[in-house]
Amino acid sequence: MGNTHYTKDHEYVRIDGDIATFGITDYAQSQLGDVVFVEVPKVGAHLKQGAEAAVVESVKAASEVYAPVSGEVIESNAALEGTPATVNEDPEGKGWFGKIKLSNKSELDALMSEADYKAYLSTL
């Protein structure tokens, strides 16, 4: 089992011990187009899996980003407020949104592996 997991809403979450770094996938950024604003999650917020965690806005529209896992936000990527285009350029690297301290590791079972996500993308 790899350490990156994916949701059907095109969020990814990378696991390192009990810390989960999440953001939107390359497919998601390509569908959104030019990102012009990101509202990252607040440090200290308690997120629930599947609930709204952040907002990403393109020229055209605002889209909600859902928490791929539950837990407390321990860090958010404040740099995105000044350079939202990082989400387009490096979505699964420097364009991460937040880091969550996992509260329930078994939630990962509900997510897709990289191979499953690629297969899912091919059906869209």
């Binding site: 604003f37 806005e57 020229v59 055209k60 605002a62």
Partner: protein
Amino acid sequence: MTDLASAPTKRTPLYDLHVALGARMVPFAGYDMPVQYPTGILTEHQWTRAEAGLFDVSHMGQCFLIGSDHETTARALEALIPADIVNLKPGQQRYSQFLTEDGGILDDIMVTRSALPEEDGTLMVVVNAGCKDQDFAHLAKHLPKTIKLILAPHRALLALQGPKAASVLARFAPEVATMPFMSALSTKIDGVPVHISRSGYSGEDGYEISIHEDKVRGLADRLLKESEVKPIGLGARDSLRLEAGLCLYGHELDLTTSPVEANIQWSIQKRRREEGGFPGFERIKRELTEGPKRKRVGIKPEGRAPAREGTEIHDAAGNKIGVVTSGGFGPTLNGPCAMGYVDTAHSAVGTRVSLIVRGTAMPAEITAMPFVPNRFYRG
């Protein structure tokens, strides 16, 4: 606007070109239209402000009104719109609106008097795609029998917009270089008859070119071969017009808004304000004298977060004073900008307001429009 969601999607004559260029196609006003090409909305927007953008606006409605002479046709149209058409000079164009009996807006339109002496008595009218069926029915119902209404569904429409538009188009039709903003002429490009007006929807200098649907692909291909020209989709068309402070039907304009509320009373010339003779005159006269209850304004959010259509506008005390009708990110402005309606008491430039974005009050200010200066060619 007619709800066309259930109707089969129509295609413009340039559909194959859009697909070949890699456009992302979306349904718009019953048509499958390019929202963006592979480089994206930001790049397309900036390109149009710096170079020249080519837009396919063939979904818009085109028609001709033909009467025995200019005054006859002009007076017939004036019965439906508040602009002075009688005093239009040959080859002159005006912006106006079809109005309801109570002064609401059925659609906003462009009216052009033919430049050709042999076409004296002919007016060309261009209307919004989403309204065209009802606009044409409205014209057919209300025009007197002495005026012929000729629909032009086989005419395509291209817009070439941006600071390089004039030098590009002059390579094909030299006479366009010096035509002033809001004028029109008929000419030929590569032997094909075209009707060209110097107007558009970007705030930039530019042209709209009406041409037969069988010939539009050839012209589009020729224009796209010029190094200054790139294709531009509906996404950038919207961000360009928002920065230019231009109204979009169904957003800033609808059946409830009057031209005075919409702050487009400049399109009602003096003679019409005095004489009336158009639907909704009573309301418009009253609003011109006493001021409207609400007014369309520009709004500049202080932060980086865009305020989208439907966002509530509050005063300092937290009372709702209006609503955003169009809002987003202005690529040239490099920040968010919006338009909306507010109670007239709160409409002065510099008024501090709050925008309720996802439950949070964001500080903003009523600002003058356009957000980005217009660069029309006045000759």
